[in-house]
Symmetry: C2
Subunit: 226 residues, 2 copies
DNA sequence: CGCGGCTTTGATGTTCATCAAGTAAAGTGG
DNA sequence: CCACTTTACTTGATGAACATCAAAGCCGCG
């Protein structure tokens, strides 16, 4: 295995704290895995043995209830840890993770990470900061969605992908209408209707999966107003 | 100041990792503060300088938007850290914390905690676990509420206080109907109507602020079904 | 005592889920 | 490669769920 940690983006962001021998140790136990679109990275109920972060691609976290309905928790992009949630507080994953597009994840043995936390104060500090940041993002997004109504929710999602994921007002929506509905807790039909309305009102243009935001201000107002 | 850390419940749960000299150090920088009901512990926008945990009482975390509307994020009970959210990822609090009943908090200097994380691997591990657990609870509760509708949401809240807070099916609701509405994102009137319906259907008994759950099974079904 | 906030109920209109039915797109086996 | 199946998307119609407005009783507090 080629250990290219030194130019791994993740390393420069979070792992500056490593001493050389630690870096090597962490490198050796690391495995890089390619994950094709739609494939699972984590399955709900599985035992937590790894510590996973996303190197390339885009993923969704979601949970499935007993009746088979699934609810999307959040999305993850490169630099995000895949298995942040619960890994320090649970034995088993209480959510699944699935690749939305072809992705690459790096997998560390979880015990290795635990050891690093104990023995490297700077690493522990960095990780804590990152976890706090990651959870915060999810919490605030979920709270935003909770207090909005249909139109505001859909506008929020469209802006989310533009600003947080693609940093571009034109993008190919990586999820289906159904998945949007599983994220915001509304019916598929009404998600579609809302997108159609935005299109008719010339706030966005829609070509299949491609979304182009034309009137960002108006969309932002709809999102803010709820 | 009397340093009674050794019999502080928090200590036995999280701080077993302390060596004696660290324990003393942490004790000396700690301040115990009584907070009467309705008083603020943290104000949104204030700089993060402290690390606060709840020794006695009950608190609510909430955020206020520009238009003055407030949204409840979560509730905290003894043993919970008050200032978990954001403290490692932000400079300023993006939420407020208010005592719901007379409470007692313990305040540590934030830099002291940061030092402890760096220098005590066991402490870092314990804290990480606790933070992960705390965030998880909030995320899952919020997601639960998001996917339910009015009746399910209200049932969820009533069960939440019975199971998670009071561990009793009869309790004095520590929040107003309006606050329930700010937590679940529905109108006050409909929260009240729903509680009245539950009362008429003999699922609960209501005497002002006092709630007594009579038919827990039915209430649970309503909550589960959404 | 009176004011303001909380609670409650009713009436009304808006928002939303659900059902139905059809079209487009994407996978599947021969 | 085509017929077939399945899945995603779309629109309309209907009734249920919900917000909002209005009005009145209640309670704590200055």
């Amino acid at each position: 295995m080629i250990c290219n940690c030194s130019n791994c983006a993740l390393k420069t962001v979070f792992f500056d704290s490593f001493k050389d021998e630690e870096l090597e140790f962490y490198c050796e136990s690391r495995v890089e895995v390619k994950v094709p679109a739609k494939e699972f990275i984590i399955k709900q109920g599985a035992e937590i043995k790894d510590f996973i972060y996303l190197k390339e691609g885009l993923i969704k976290l979601f949970r499935t209830s007993d009746n088979g309905k699934s609810q999307i928790i959040s999305f993850g992009k490169p630099m995000d840890f895949v298995s942040i949630q619960s890994v320090f507080s649970e034995k088993k994953y209480n959510y699944s993770v699935q690749a939305l597009i072809d992705s690459v994840v790096c997998v560390l043995d979880f015990n290795t990470v635990k050891d690093l936390i104990k023995n490297n104060g700077n690493f522990a500090t960095s990780l804590l900061k990152q976890i706090s940041f990651s959870y915060d993002r999810i919490t605030m997004n979920t709270l935003d969605i909770l207090q909005k109504r249909l139109y505001g929710k859909v506008a929020h999602v469209l802006i989310y992908f533009a600003d947080q994921v693609y940093e571009n007002d034109e993008y190919s929506l990586p999820i289906s209408r159904k998945e949007i509905s599983e994220y915001i807790g509304m019916s598929v039909e009404n998600v579609i209707r809302t997108i159609s309305e935005f299109r008719k009102d010339k706030i966005i243009k829609v070509y299949g999966k491609t979304i182009e935001i034309i009137d960002k201000k108006k969309l932002q107002i709809i999102s803010d107003r709820g």
